[in-house]
């Protein structure tokens, strides 16, 4: 019989290699499935790497895809550090996108001022949206997991209402799209690719979050609260204010991801601007050990998988369901590895 026992100390080595091992396990499992489907897995993986990293363009697309993952991943990981579970980054991204779009479509601001205002609006709307659950948690001890999760649906439905209704492009043949932003309110791109300034902003925010968490009193207090809330209370840290503040910051980062998507990629507001980035962010934060630098690295790896997945369809003619299955497998093994970091199997011989 096998029983699981909690490890006293999570093995440092295992913690370090677990993410990589889970990716390898997923690759091997997917390879077995591919063999059953009559597809050469080596060729398939080579195709994925080629698609996402094999050319200048591929790399640029991978970085475009990593941008919202970095930003939402940062937001989620800050909250996780304090053991506040923000599951609502997707909704915060949508609200940020809405805030930025409002400025772009209706404020009349142009040029750099316009873009700066869009950025600020996105951060504030995303932050306030998350702040609601922070406030409820701090003042009434309402479970933030439920509140943030359910507020995702409200945010997505609200954006749908806007693009089907009042914000719909009058010349758009009734399609649920807002008008395009004027060209000076679209983020500039590099080297004739779709890589936009949002990526640079994301890098800057990685540095900002790193310094904030590691070098400031606020960051220190957040970590103390996360590790031992009772001790923090005795030390005189005001936990309620921290909860609201951290939630606001977490949502603001996700909101900035929304700004990046509408101003950098879509050039307008529409449905489906997030392809589940806010949920992938949870995995990113977990895999990254909640560290800012880790979020950057893991986001790029996730982007490789997402962008490379296209080639499975184009070159191997694998159905889209397989691409989803493959991504699911990776996430599955990552979660499993997290379990094994903290628990170890013990074989019990019975009958003796």
């Amino acid at each position: 019989m096998i029983r699981f026992e909690k490890r006293k100390d999570a093995s440092k080595l295992f913690t370090a290699v677990a993410p990589f091992m889970s990716v390898i396990f997923a690759l091997v499992t997917a390879a077995v499935i591919m063999l059953f489907a009559g597809i050469n897995p080596i060729a398939a993986y080579a195709g994925m790497i080629k698609e996402s990293l094999g050319s200048f363009y591929g790399v640029s697309e991978t970085l475009v895809k990593s941008t919202p993952l970095i930003l939402t991943g940062l937001g989620v990981s800050i909250a996780f550090r304090m053991k506040i579970w923000n599951i609502g980054a997707d909704g915060q991204l949508y609200m940020g996108a809405m805030g930025a779009s409002y400025v772009a479509l209706y404020s009349g601001l142009t040029g750099f001022t316009g873009i700066a205002a869009m950025f600020a609006a996105a951060a504030v709307t995303g932050g306030l949206w998350a702040g609601v659950s922070g406030f409820l948690k701090a003042k009434a001890n309402v479970n933030e997991i439920i509140v943030t999760l359910l507020m995702n649906y409200i945010a997505i439905a609200w954006v749908s209402y806007l693009v089907y209704g009042p914000w719909k492009d009058p010349n758009g043949f009734n399609f649920p799209l807002t008008p395009r932003f004027s060209p000076d309110l679209v983020l500039s791109t590099f080297f004739n690719t779709r890589l936009h300034t949002g990526f640079i902003i994301a890098l800057a925010l990685v540095a900002f979050v790193y310094i904030f968490m590691e070098k400031t009193v606020w960051g220190y207090e957040i970590k103390v609260i996360g590790n031992n809330p009772k001790a923090a209370k005795y030390a005189g840290i005001s936990i309620d204010r921290k909860i609201i503040g951290v939630m606001f910051l977490s949502g603001a980062l996700a909101g900035i991801a929304g700004f990046g998507e509408v101003a950098g990629v879509q050039g307008r507001l529409q449905e489906g601007i997030s392809h589940g980035y806010g949920y992938t962010a949870i995995i990113v934060a977990w895999l990254a050990g909640r560290s800012a630098i880790g979020v950057l690295v893991v986001s790029v790896i996730m982007a490789v998988i997402l962008v490379g997945g296209d080639s499975l369809q184009i070159l191997m003619q694998l159905p889209v369901a397989f691409v989803n299955l493959f991504q699911g497998l990776i996430l599955f093994f990552i979660l499993a590895s997290d379990f094994f970091i903290h628990n170890r199997p013990v074989i019990i011989r019975s009958g003796k």
Binding site: I49, K50, D310
Partner: protein, 374 residues
Amino acid sequence: MKKLLLLAVLASFLILPGCSKKKEEETKAPEAAPAATAAPAGKEIRAAFVYVGPVGDGGWTFAHDLGRQMMAKLPYVKDVTFIESVPEGAESTRIITSLAQKGYNLIFTTSFGYMDPTIEVASKFPDVVFMHCSGYKTAENVGTYFGRIYQPRYLSGMVAGKMTKTNVIGYVAAFPIPEVIRGINAFTLGVRSVNPKAVVKVVWTQTWFDPGKERDAAESLLDVKADVITMHQDTPAPLQAAEKRGAFAIGYNSDMSSQIPGAWLTAPVWNWGTLYEEIAKEVHEGTWKSGKIWYGLEHNLVDLAPMSKLVPADVQELVNAKKAELASGKDEIFTGPIKDNTGKVVVEAGKSLTDDEKLSMNFLVEGVQGTIPK
């Protein structure tokens, strides 16, 4: 020991991409070759299709994929790939670019939402021919194609008008865009041509592919006594709902008579294959030019699926006669007098809508119960 293991794992990660990179350089060479050594006899076709739904949707994408398979059999078509369930908007830009970069020289983008991405990508690949289905923007290397599906819609409306007992017909519609509105209007004009008392109730789902939502919409129409259900969706869900409740079903996209045997009457259907062969031939021979293709019954791009046994012989005769008339080029479906459903005359007697007016249609004709969401 532990450190060694860690190093080994890390090293394998560094080496792995390196290995596969080598591999890809090897495979790159043969891929690039055909384009460079294109025989003067004609261009070898490497085509790619971008689909909005899965090929197994039994509807819109399924019909396009049948056409793709027909085209794949042409001798000079070397390779025809597809990529399914591609989200409309910016995500599709990456996928269309990726196809063009892989050396596909004829790319079909088969949903309206790919219009701007197609135009954008096409400007970067002047040697690739792009064909966008159902849009209105063209470029030097981007043509559009679509079919006058409103003609068989009108015919299916005649069938519905004859078959309804309650004089309420339900229409599950996707988005309130001209294409869908045109279908509703043609259908309703067909209904009213044989049964002026019947009304067509419309429910918008705001989705192309969402079986659950589409089924719910059909249910709500059945609840208000609709006894014939038709739809402008990519899945058969509304028809299945109709069959379950003992109502008749008129499909769309492809012949689903075998799937819905108890309720199936007929459907406006697409035959993309012939058109796809024609386009591939033009590109192969170098005669292709950007244009706006809008074929009807006369080209057999659109058709009415065979009417089932549930449709009485005299109705079949009547509908077939009208079909022959439309196929001969006498298309007076949108010829006045036509009133909209607020009573305003939108097409005066003796006048006909031009193709441009049909393509930007934004009113519902008399007999339709519903509104265009503003």
